[in-house]
Symmetry: C2
Subunit: 208 residues, 2 copies
C-alpha cells in the first residue's frame, strides 16, 4: 500500500522529550535533525492532529494571559508505547537522493570539463556546510568538557526540556549526531578531491 509514516514517529519522539507546539517541532527538526531529516508545516500540523485522533497525543490550548494563541501537544502513555515499539522495530536503510551523483553519472557522455565544473560547485557547498558544522562541534565539545552550556546552547537545551541530570547525556547525543554529519561531509569532500584528480588526468590526456 504505502510508506511508513515516519513523520509521525519523528514528531512523537520529540514530544517524548517535552510537550510542544507545531512551531517548536519545526524548529527542533531544523536545528537538530537537518542534515538527515526534514519536516515542513504542511506535514507537521496535519500529523499532530492525526496523533491526537489516534490517541497518541493530546492537544491543549496554551492561550492564557495575553499571550499568542498556541497549541501544545503532549504525548500520551499510548504514544510512548508506540514510540518504543518503533525504536525497537527494524530500521530502514538510509534513503538518499543525491542529485549531484545522479548528474555526474548521467553526464558521462559529456566532456570531462563539464563534470569537473559540476563537482567543484558541489565541493564549495560542502566546504561551507563543513565550516558551520565545525563551529557547532566546537561549541558542543566545550560544553561537554566544561560541563557548562553556553547561552547559544542553553536555548536548545530548554527547548528539548532536558533536566540537569540527563543534560550531559543529551549533549553527547547532539554531539554524536553532529559527528555523523561531519563524517558524511568529509566523505563527500574526499570524493570530490578524488574525482577531480581522476578527471584532471583525463583532461591532460585528451587535451595535450
Amino acid at each position: 500500500m504505502a510508506a511508513k509514516k515516519k513523520t509521525q514517529f519523528a514528531i512523537l519522539g520529540l514530544l517524548s522529550w517535552k510537550p510542544m507546539s507545531g512551531y517548536d517541532v519545526k524548529k527542533l527538526v531544523d536545528v537538530g535533525l537537518s542534515h538527515f531529516w526534514n519536516e515542513n508545516y504542511g506535514q507537521i500540523y496535519p500529523t499532530l492532529d492525526r496523533l491526537v485522533a489516534d490517541g497518541l497525543a493530546t492537544k491543549k490550548s496554551d492561550h492564557a494571559s495575553g499571550k499568542r494563541r498556541r497549541f501544545v501537544y503532549t504525548i500520551t502513555r499510548k504514544g510512548k508505547k508506540a514510540f518504543r515499539t518503533w525504536i525497537e522495530a527494524p530500521t530502514d536503510a538510509p534513503i538518499v537522493r543525491n542529485e549531484l551523483q545522479l548528474k555526474f553519472f548521467l553526464s558521462s557522455g559529456l566532456p570531462a570539463i563539464d563534470s569537473v565544473r559540476l563537482i567543484k560547485q558541489h565541493q564549495g557547498a560542502q566546504r561551507a556546510a563543513l565550516a558551520e558544522y565545525r563551529h557547532s562541534e566546537a561549541v558542543l565539545r566545550e560544553a561537554l568538557q566544561n560541563d557548562a552550556v553556553s547561552d547559544e546552547l542553553d536555548e536548545l537545551m530548554t527547548m528539548t526540556g532536558t533536566d540537569s541530570q540527563s543534560r550531559k547525556k543529551q549533549l553527547n547525543t547532539f554531539y554524536l549526531t553532529l559527528r555523523h554529519g561531519i563524517h558524511i561531509i568529509e566523505a563527500r569532500l574526499a570524493w570530490c578531491e578524488e574525482a577531480i584528480t581522476s578527471l584532471g588526468a583525463d583532461l591532460a590526456n585528451t587535451e595535450t
Copy 2:
C-alpha cells in the same frame, strides 16, 4: 507548488545513452544508481509516457519476429536539449532520510545500551554493503587497468550502449560513482565505531 520532476531527467539521461524500455531503465537504475537514487515501475512507465507527451522522447514497438512485446523509447533532439539544460542548472543539495540517525537522536532519553544495540545492527548492514561494493570495485579496477571488460561487466556496457571509443571513460564514471558509495559507507562505519566507543564509556561510568 510542488517538487522538481527529477525522475524525468534521470530517465532522460539514461535514454541519452541509448534507446531503451521501461524495464531496461529499472535495471540500469538498480545496478548503477542504487546507492544514491531509486525508481520503481510505478514511476517509470507513467514518466516515460509523459516524456513522449512532452516531445522529449518517442515510443516505438519492438515487437517483431516472434519476440516479446516491448516498447523502446528514444530521446528526441528536444529531449537532449532539456537534459543539457538540467545538467547545467543549479544542483540541489543531497536529500537524506536516515532512520537510524533519527532513532539515535530521539532515543537520547533511553538507556545507552539500547542505542548501542541500534547502532550495532546498522553497523552489520553497512559492513555487508561495503563487502559488495568492494567486490564491484575490484571488478571495475581490473577492467580499467587491463583495458578489457569481464563478462560480468560486458552486459552492463552493452546495456548502456557504450561504443568502444568512450568505453574507458564510461568505466571510469562507474568506478568513481562506486567510489562515492564506498566513501559514504566508510564514513558511516567510522561513525558507528566512534559512537559505540563513546556510549561504551557512558555505560562503564553509570554501571560500575
